[in-house]
């Protein structure tokens, strides 16, 4: 579940986007590609086509299952949608360094994955 605790605002082209203490959207409906860019800037990530296709996989996953995936199902979902070459943790680690499931979920406007500790 998305946290409903508002910790701070992100300025995106004059709009104030509410973020929770861990930087996830308070209201998932406020997501837009511009918001993704602004969140990625905070993480020092420049979004490329390879990032966007993963973000799309994540948004489809959430639309279907109402949850943000942990790493294993994320790898599986990416593999199913984008091919086995991209369905690898190393590919996702390169795109979303640190903890790909958490970082990518944040940029995709999903809640924090609940099943990865």
């Amino acid at each position: 579940m998305a946290s409903t605790t508002l910790a701070r605002y992100l300025d995106v082209k004059g709009q104030r986007i509410g973020l929770d203490p861990e930087g996830y959207l308070v209201n998932l409906d406020t997501w837009s590609p511009d918001v993704a860019h602004a969140l990625a800037d905070e993480d020092g990530i420049a979004l490329t086509d390879e990032h966007w296709e993963v973000i799309e996989v994540l948004r489809n996953f959430h639309a279907r299952f109402a949850m943000a995936p942990a790493m294993r199902p994320l790898v599986k979902a990416v593999g199913q949608s984008l091919g086995e070459d991209k369905g690898r943790s190393i590919h996702l680690m390169r795109l979303f360094p640190g903890s790909p499931a958490k970082v990518a979920a944040r940029l995709a406007g999903l809640p924090k994955p609940t099943n990865c500790l």
Partner: protein, 123 residues
């Protein structure tokens, strides 16, 4: 038969959707274990079979149920979806009314499950 279902963790789900948080808690436990690479079997017993009925909707307060989570199980490589056949019959349900394919189990096979799994959690 025993070895066929042997696995790391057996999660027994005995409660239906929406009435309490037990079903969701049990599913969460299964997902966490699977996310850490454990092989998980789910057994739907008694009232728990109601969790599998297809065409479930959010409740009157708009709270989402557990059906999306159950559809997600295969993404976590949870493929052993076991159902107590007697419970299904108790509710007059047939396997084609369930949201995903299941394996129906009866008496003798059910009683081997606790020992064929390293750990059992009952919800």
């Amino acid at each position: 038969m025993t070895s066929h279902f042997s696995s790391d963790l057996l999660v027994i789900l005995r409660h239906g959707p929406h009435g309490s948080s037990l079903l969701r808690d049990g599913l969460d436990a299964a997902l966490v274990a699977a996310a850490f690479g454990q092989r998980v079997s789910l057994l739907f017993m008694g009232e728990g079979v109601m969790a599998l009925v297809d065409d479930q909707q959010p409740d009157p307060l708009g709270q989402k149920g557990t059906s999306a989570t159950i559809e997600m199980l295969s993404m976590y490589d949870i493929e052993a979806i076991l159902v107590e056949q007697t419970a299904l019959e108790l509710f007059g349900l047939t396997p084609d009314e369930l949201m995903l394919p299941v394996r129906l189990l009866t008496g003798a096979t059910l009683s081997t499950l606790p020992t064929s799994h390293r750990l059992v959690l009952t919800f």
